[in-house]
């Protein structure tokens, strides 16, 4: 290879490595801000600020969803396999919201440790299976262990 071209090749490689390293360091420094939500264990450890809009994500524990008879009010508990967090919400839930599936909830943490939600999003997993194949037991267990968040 011609020496001038070899020099240009080295310059190109240096450019790619340095710019990648710079972006990598910035991403590493901001890693907490890049997370879209806090898992329930961060709430249990007191790492989540109060009176500020934050997001929580976790598995909706099967059997924990309680709906009011006369309003849209709903309460449920999410988990990441380590800790649990109670969520209250007063609007319509997304179609794919389900027990044993993950959800991402935006809202404010009340002093009582309950999350007052203003938005609930359904988070689905990466498995593409037809209706009859989904094994509910295995699926719920994976969810409860934090496997879907």
């Amino acid at each position: 290879m011609h020496p001038v071209r070899k020099q240009r090749l080295i310059l190109v490689l240096v450019l790619v490595v340095l710019s990648s390293a710079a972006v990598g360091f910035v991403a590493y420094a901001m890693r907490g801000n890049i997370d879209f939500f806090y898992p329930p264990k961060a709430f249990a450890a007191g790492e989540v600020p109060m009176e500020k809009r934050i997001r929580a994500g976790g598995c909706v524990i099967p059997g924990s969803v309680q709906r009011a008879d006369d309003s849209l009010d709903v309460q449920f508990v999410i988990t990441d396999g380590v800790a649990e967090l109670t969520v209250v919400f007063d609007k319509i839930l997304p179609d794919l919201f389900a027990e044993g599936e993950a959800a991402v909830i935006a809202g404010r943490l009340l002093p009582s440790g309950v999350l007052q939600a203003d938005q609930v999003l359904a988070k689905h997993d990466e498995n593409y299976t037809p209706p009859e194949v989904a094994d509910t037991m295995v699926s719920h267990e994976a969810c409860m262990n934090g496997g879907k968040i």
Partner: protein
């Protein structure tokens, strides 16, 4: 090592005359595969257990995303070859890959947004996967814009290639974002080392669509590059003959 073959590859005329015969086959393969895959995916595969019919968007969302990411390396590597060997052809490939990559990332973002509403309950959230994919679209647009910015074609090409190279760091970030950070987007369904997380019956049309998108990518990359070469070589006799011949 003998580099002669490599330098001949850099001749716009040689490239133009060599690739012409491949175009009809690539076009035919793209149209057939994309039609078969779409009809199959839209009507002849059962619905998803939780998502119902909205998941049928996967048959365009995933192939578009794959090609938008893979195409970035096509653009960046062509740019690097252009910078190192000062090859006209590779800058033309880089510029063509930028246009096609922009279209593919736009398709990926729009179909993802339309898929997000019925499944997640939102068109858009500023989470890592979506934001890094939006940055990819802006990088493609940036490369296109820079190629228009300088009055001298050579310096415009160099500037575009530098931006393309700096942006390569975004590709692993997009791919791994769902593993590195908590995100709304689920993890990868198609896996290289492990078994993919998709039912085989649902996978066949997806495979056809992915191959179809690869053919479409190859076909349009060639046609865009060829037209760009004619434009850039318009002063030469061979380009004028190509433009005015066959009329």
């Amino acid at each position: 090592m003998n580099w002669q073959w490599f330098h001949r590859l850099g001749s716009p005329r040689w490239f133009y005359q060599k690739t012409g015969a491949w175009l009809p086959w690539l076009a035919l393969a793209s149209v057939v595969l994309l039609s078969v895959g779409s009809v199959w995916g839209l009507g002849f595969v059962y619905e998803h257990g939780q998502q119902g019919n909205s998941y049928r968007i996967i048959y365009i969302h995933v192939p578009a995303a794959l090609l938008a990411l893979a195409g970035y390396y096509v653009m960046a590597i062509s740019g690097a070859i252009g910078l190192i060997w000062r090859m006209k052809l590779s800058f033309a490939v880089m510029r063509a890959a930028a246009s096609i990559g922009a279209v593919l990332s736009f398709i990926c973002l729009v179909t993802g947004s339309l898929w997000g509403k019925p499944t997640w309950g939102t068109y858009w959230e500023w989470e890592a996967r979506m934001t890094s994919m939006l940055i990819l679209l802006f990088l493609y647009i940036g490369v296109i814009a820079l190629s228009h910015a300088a009055s001298r074609e050579q310096s415009a090409d160099k500037a575009s290639a530098l931006l393309a190279l700096v942006g390569t760091v975004n590709i692993p970030i997009i791919y791994w974002s769902v593993n590195w950070w908590n995100s709304l987007h689920q993890r990868a369904t198609l896996r290289v080392i492990e078994e993919s997380r998709i039912d085989p019956v649902m996978f066949y049309p997806l495979l056809i669509m992915i191959i179809g998108f690869y053919c479409m990518y190859a076909w349009t990359l060639l046609t865009h590059t060829r037209t760009l070469l004619l434009k850039r070589e318009m002063r030469t006799k061979w380009a004028q003959d190509e433009l005015l011949g066959g009329r």
